[in-house]
Each structure stands twice: as structure tokens, then as C-alpha cells.
Amino acid sequence: MTDTTPDLLFDLTLTDEQRMNRESMQRFAAAEIRAQAKLVDEGAGSARDFYPRTAELGLTLLPIPEALGGAGVDRSPVSNALIFEDLAHGDMSLALGAISPMAFVNTLLDQGSEAQREKYLPLFCTGEFKAATTALLEPRATFDPGAPATTATRTDSGYTLSGTKAMVPLGLDAELVLVIARLDGGECAAFIVEGSPAGMTRTAESNMGLLGAQLATLQFDDVQLPADARLGSGAFDLQRFVDLARLGICALAVGTCQAVLDYVKPYVNERVAFGEPISNRQSVAFMVADMAIELEAMRLMTWRAAALAEQGEDFHQQAYLAKVFCAEHAMKIGTDGVQLLGGHGFCREHPVEMWYRNLRAIDILEGIASV
């Protein structure tokens, strides 16, 4: 922090806007998302049909300048993290799909050129849900977000894109996909892929969880992109993009883990064994206590990094550590949620097994859910 930084106090108080916004997000999450989640996870409901209903939240509208049709509210990584958290409390899978266009918009606002903003942002101010997404992750066991293998090569007319991206939310439907690739063997750059150009193949994925997010593998075989497809006018800041996405992923983890905690609390208090509620046993009660402790820490880690990002400070290390911490503890909270319900936790009648499957993805996901 530089000496010219204004003297902010340590503060965990939400702004009035954030409080109001949370209320509406939480209402939507409880009423709309939670109800859909199970149906979609079981293949009985359509995520594709669901997403248009999220348009009422105005997720993409807020931070877009008024001149381009938006509400012109300053983009706030903290507020966005709160939104992600609240939606994920309903369901992480549907939340991820719902916020993917917002992540695309956020990245455009953050690193797009003036021309790109003018071209694309008005499309997200129509009041309709527009499928868009970001794609960094690749299908390799040792994939590192700082070193994608997808390549872009300069051509006379623009770029040739080659490579494979995995676990892309809304990957089947997205009309706009921001793809990260190594440019001419050097630094990374981001490319806006519109529609489905020749050489681009979209394959629906079957995964352990996140079934509602419509994850897809996108393959690019010598896909030709125009010169203006490259994001921004200067160098692409990959680390910043990855870190902003890490914050979004952490926020999704926080919301989901809060859902687990909220679910197991009444369960262990009501479930009777050996003549008493099972929560009267230390092994059960302490597991719940640790869940609460680690969840609180996950939230503080996420908020801290998001606040640094919002203040324009260096937030790389805190975002990195938040992701490490959230991944580790989200895994444990997901597992403990099932364990606390015992045999019932293993059955799909209760949502904890779905949350368990969804939370496995926290460590793996990269380059999506940018705040």
C-alpha cells in the first residue's frame, strides 16, 4: 500500500447498496435457483430454459456505462463477490452459468479496448439473458493457469487459434467466448470468439458435478479470427484476469459451503440416535464448529482480496492464497456435509451429495467467474 493511499479503516460492514442487493439476490437464490438445482442435476429440468429467468437480476447491466445502455454503476469486485456468493447459496452450478456473461462483461470492462466495449457491451443491456463466457482451463492433469497451451498465430488478416479449452461454462450456447491463448509463442493474449467459426467444435461434457453450468469442451482447429478479436489495445494481463476469476470461484465456494452449513445445522439437531440429537456428540458438533470456523475464514480471505482489487492495490498474492484456502476447505466442508448426514448424505434425496460433487470443482476451475 502506498503512502498516498487514503486511510481506510478495517471494516466488515456492507454498504447500503450491497445490503439491498444481497436481499434480492438471496431471495432469487432461495425461490428460483434452489428449486431448479435438483431438477437440473437429475436431468429432469433444463438449465438452458432456466437462464433467461436470471435476466431479471440485471447482472450484466449494472457496470456498463450509461452511454452504452447500462446503469453506469462502478464495477465492484466486492459487490460482485457478494452476488456470486448469494447465488451459489442457491446452487453453485446454476450460479456459475448465470454469472458467466457477467464475467465476460467484467473482463471486457477491465481489459477491453474502447471499440470492443462499444461493440459488445450494448448486447448485454437488452434485458434478455445473453450467453457469453470465458475460457482458460485446458484438459491436462498438470495444467497451470499461467501457461496455457492453446496458441494464437498472427496471420495477414488476424489470428489463427488452435487448442482445446475444458470446463467452459455455457460452453455449448455462448455466442461470445473469451479464449486465452499464447500469442506467437510469447505472452498470452485473449481473443473474443463470436458465434461458431469454422474449426470450432463444442462438445458437451459429462462431469462429476456442475451439471447445470453446461460445461463444454471447446476445440479450436486453425480457427481464423479477425484482427480486432484480440482483447484490449495493449498487453493482456493474464495474471490479473486469473486472479479476478479466482475471487469469483472463491465466492462460489463460500456460498455453497454456507448452504452446506445451513443445511446440516437443523439436520444434526433433529436427527436422534442413541436417545439424543446426534449434535450432542462432540464428534458431530466439533465437525460443525470447524465447518463454521473455516467457512468464516474462507469468506474473509475472499473479501480481503476483492477489497484490495477494488481499491486498485496489488491483490495477486491474496487472491492466490484465497483460492488455495477456499479450495482446501471447500473440499473438506463438502465431504463433512455428507458424513454428517451418514447414509442419508449418500442419497440424492438430500442436496449435500450434489454440493459435495460441485465443490470438488473449486480447486480445478480457473479463468471463469471473473469479478
Binding site: 437429475e42 482451463l137 485446458e138 484438459p139 491436462r140 492433469a141 498438470t142 495444467f143 475444458a166 470446463m167 461434457e205 459429462s206 462431469n207 462429476m208 458435478g209 436427527r271 436422534v272 440416535a273 442413541f274 436417545g275 446426534i278 456428540r281 464428534s283 458431530v284 479450495a327 473440499m331 465431504t335 455428507v338 458424513q339 451418514g342 447414509g343 442419508h344 448424505g345 449418500f346 442419497c347 440424492r348 434425496e349 451429495e353 459435495y356 460433487r357 470438488r360 470443482a361 480447486d363 480445478i364
Partner: protein, 399 residues
């Protein structure tokens, strides 16, 4: 003389089972994971091939001189399960004859009962909607009416409840008499009053069905009770009687632990195969702290896996040698249960999107393994049992 390698016959058993697992189970792993509740008919062949070993679950027990060490049926059973659940835990649990009821019949059944039901496909009905780990608190009743027992009650979490031929049902002769009045009964499927009411959709082991079964005035022959029909009246007798029923757990816990060993080995093998393709391999040539993070984690998982496996073998060896192994059975179940969970989950994480994808089986191994830390007594129940033994505590003192 101290030796912790398998005897030759068990090494051979393991190799043969691994062949079956690889060629006759794995090709169907994903299919029956996706088609939940579908009976994996291809497994009948596997069941037949391993059937000769199972038809005598006590193992071939040649007459051995006093003091001679035995490596018998219990060790053979866990070694077989290492392989079968390396193949597929769900398919194994969903195949004829794998029911835990078989273990109960072979452990406490009369010679007649073993003959009549020993080779049937027997599922175990213990849990009820209101009971989880609290097996002593069941409400299903059995009342003797002439030459028949009349059963009434509702059971849940019956593994293979739908596709089995036979059920071993825990019921109380008189709930007011507590644990001592709990007995187990053999019910043949198709008996009027016995009905499968529901099948669970589950996180894992989807190839096996998990059923709810109701008993409404279900009448079975008087001889179908396992063990004595008498209800002990003194404290000692009551304890012993319930202990007898609970004892079946001593026989079923090492096998469930063995399943965890099998599925976590499967995960470790596949994980290492996928990582090897990226040039990452565990070579044991440096101290773990000097390895890469992935190698060090693989190394730590190998250590935990080996440790858990030895605890399982010890518990089985004790059973083979007629040494009481109630504590060791719970020890190996606790350790293998948590290690199995940990390894399968970390293998998903280590392989990142490949681990999370249904393209490979890593995510399935993780889902399948979770139940092994829950059924036949959760992690916490095993810790409780071990703690009581180690600290010499009654269940009243340490709840």
C-alpha cells in the same frame, strides 16, 4: 515368524481376481454407473467365477495342529475384495452373492441354514428410518405365532435389497427388553408381506440397488431365526446376546475396509497413469520434501494406502487364527474408510479436469468410496468402538 507378504495362494487369488476385474468388470463400470438401478447381468459370470471361493466363506480350513498359523478364508476374502473393488465397488456390491447377509449367515447360521441359504443372494436389513448408527434402537418386530415368526416394520438402506433372493432382517422380540431382544431372521424374497417400497438415487455405487423394504405381517418359518430365540434376562446375558448380533459386524467390517483399499488403489493407479503421461512419476529416489508437490502427495498417499491395507490384513489374519478382532476390525474400517475417501478425492483434484470428467473413472471412484466410510458403521462409530476398547470404557461412559 513376522512376515507381512501374502502367502502364495493369496497372491494367486489376487492376480486372478485382478484379471476378472480388469476384463470383466471395468468395461461395464461407466455403463451401470449411468444406468442406475439396472441389474448388471454381466456380473453373474464374474460371480460364478469367484463363487467357488465364496460358497465356503470360511475358507478351506484344513485341520491344522494347535499353534499353527493359518492364512485362510478371511484373508482370502479381503484379498479378493482388494481386486474386485479395484475393478468396481458398485458392480461388486451389485452382483449376486456379495450381500452382507451372506456373511451373517455364514458367521452365525446353523449348518441347516448355511446349507439352505448359504449360496443364495442375501441382503442385510438393519437400518430403519429412525435409526442410523443406533442399531440397538430398531422397531421392527418379530412375534412368534405358532410355527411362524410374524415380522412388521420398515427397513431402509438395504444394499441389493431389490435384486437379492434372501434378506437377513434385524427385529426385536420385545422392544421393552432392549438390545437383548434383537434377533436376526432370514426372509425369502417373495414371502407375502415383504415388499420393496423404494430405491434410492445415490452419490455412488449406483450399480447396486439400495432399497427400502416394508414388512407387513410377513410370516416366515420358525426355523428362520439366526441364533437362539431366547431373550436373556440378566445383564450379562443381554450384553452377550446383542454382542452376538453385533459380532456380525466384526466379520463385515474388514471386508468393507478391503473394498476401500481396492477402490483407492484403482484411483491411485489411474491417477499415476494420467500423470505419467505428463512426465510426472513417483520414483522414491529422493526424500519426499525434495520432490515436486504432486510426487510428494502421491508418496504420502502410497504410504497411507499401504498402512491401511496392512491393518485390514491384520484383522483378517486374526479372524483366520481365531483371535478376537473386534477392535482391529474397527481400526481397519476407520483407517481404510478415511484413507479411501482421501485418496480417491485427491486423485480427482490432482488430475484436475481429467479427474472431474466422466471420461475417466476417477470421479466415479471418489463417489463410490464415500459410502465405505459410512455403511457398516461410520468413521465416528469405528472411532467410538476403538476408543472404548483402548480406554476400557462401557458404552454408558463413552457415548
Amino acid at each position: 515368524m513376522i512376515n507381512l507378504e501374502l502367502a502364495k495362494k493369496h497372491r494367486e487369488t489376487f492376480e486372478q481376481v485382478m484379471m476378472l476385474a480388469e476384463h470383466m468388470m471395468r468395461p461395464y463400470s461407466r455403463k451401470y454407473d449411468k444406468e442406475e438401478h439396472t441389474y448388471p447381468k454381466e456380473m453373474e459370470e464374474v460371480a460364478k467365477l469367484i463363487g467357488s471361493a465364496r460358497s465356503n466363506p470360511g475358507g478351506t480350513r484344513e485341520a491344522v495342529p494347535e499353534g499353527t498359523v493359518v492364512n485362510g478364508g478371511n484373508m482370502g476374502s479381503v484379498v479378493g475384495l482388494f481386486g474386485l473393488c479395484w475393478g468396481d465397488t458398485g458392480l461388486f456390491l451389485g452382483m449376486p452373492g456379495s450381500g452382507l447377509g451372506n456373511a451373517a449367515i455364514s458367521a452365525v447360521g446353523t449348518p441347516e441354514q448355511k446349507k439352505k441359504f448359504g449360496s443364495s443372494y442375501a441382503a442385510m436389513c438393519i437400518t430403519e428410518p429412525g435409526t442410523g448408527s443406533d442399531s440397538a434402537n430398531i422397531s421392527t418386530t418379530a412375534v412368534l405365532d405358532g410355527d411362524e415368526w410374524v415380522l412388521n416394520g420398515e427397513k431402509i438402506f438395504v444394499t441389493d435389497g431389490e435384486r437379492s433372493d434372501t434378506l437377513v432382517v434385524w427385529a426385536t422380540l420385545d422392544k421393552s427388553l432392549g438390545k437383548a431382544a434383537i434377533k436376526s431372521f432370514i426372509v425369502e424374497k417373495g414371502t407375502p408381506g415383504c415388499e420393496v417400497t423404494r430405491l434410492e438415487h445415490k452419490l455412488g455405487i449406483r450399480a447396486s440397488d439400495t432399497a427400502s423394504i416394508s414388512f407387513n405381517d410377513c410370516r416366515i418359518p420358525k426355523d428362520n431365526i439366526l441364533g437362539s430365540a431366547e431373550v436373556a434376562t440378566d445383564a450379562e446375558g443381554r450384553k452377550k446376546a446383542f454382542g452376538g448380533v453385533m459380532q456380525t459386524f466384526d466379520n463385515t467390517r474388514p471386508p468393507v475396509a478391503a473394498m476401500a483399499i481396492g477402490v483407492s488403489r484403482a484411483a491411485l493407479d489411474l491417477c499415476q497413469e494420467l500423470l505419467q503421461a505428463e512426465g510426472v512419476a513417483l520414483t522414491y529416489d529422493k526424500k519426499p520434501c525434495n520432490l515436486s508437490a504432486i510426487e510428494a502427495e502421491l508418496c504420502q498417499m502410497e504410504a497411507e494406502w499401504n498402512a491401511a491395507r496392512l491393518l485390514v490384513l491384520k484383522a483378517a489374519w486374526m479372524a483366520d487364527n481365531k483371535t478376537p478382532n473386534s477392535m482391529e476390525a474397527s481400526m481397519c474400517k476407520a483407517k481404510a474408510g478415511r484413507v479411501g475417501n482421501h485418496i480417491t478425492l485427491r486423485c480427482v483434484a490432482l488430475c484436475q479436469s481429467l479427474g472431474y470428467s466422466e471420461t475417466y473413472l476417477l470421479e466415479k471412484f471418489a463417489r463410490d468410496s464415500k459410502i465405505l466410510d459410512i455403511f457398516e458403521g461410520t468413521q465416528q462409530i469405528q472411532q467410538l468402538i476403538v476408543a472404548r476398547r483402548v480406554l476400557e470404557k462401557s458404552s454408558a461412559d463413552l457415548k
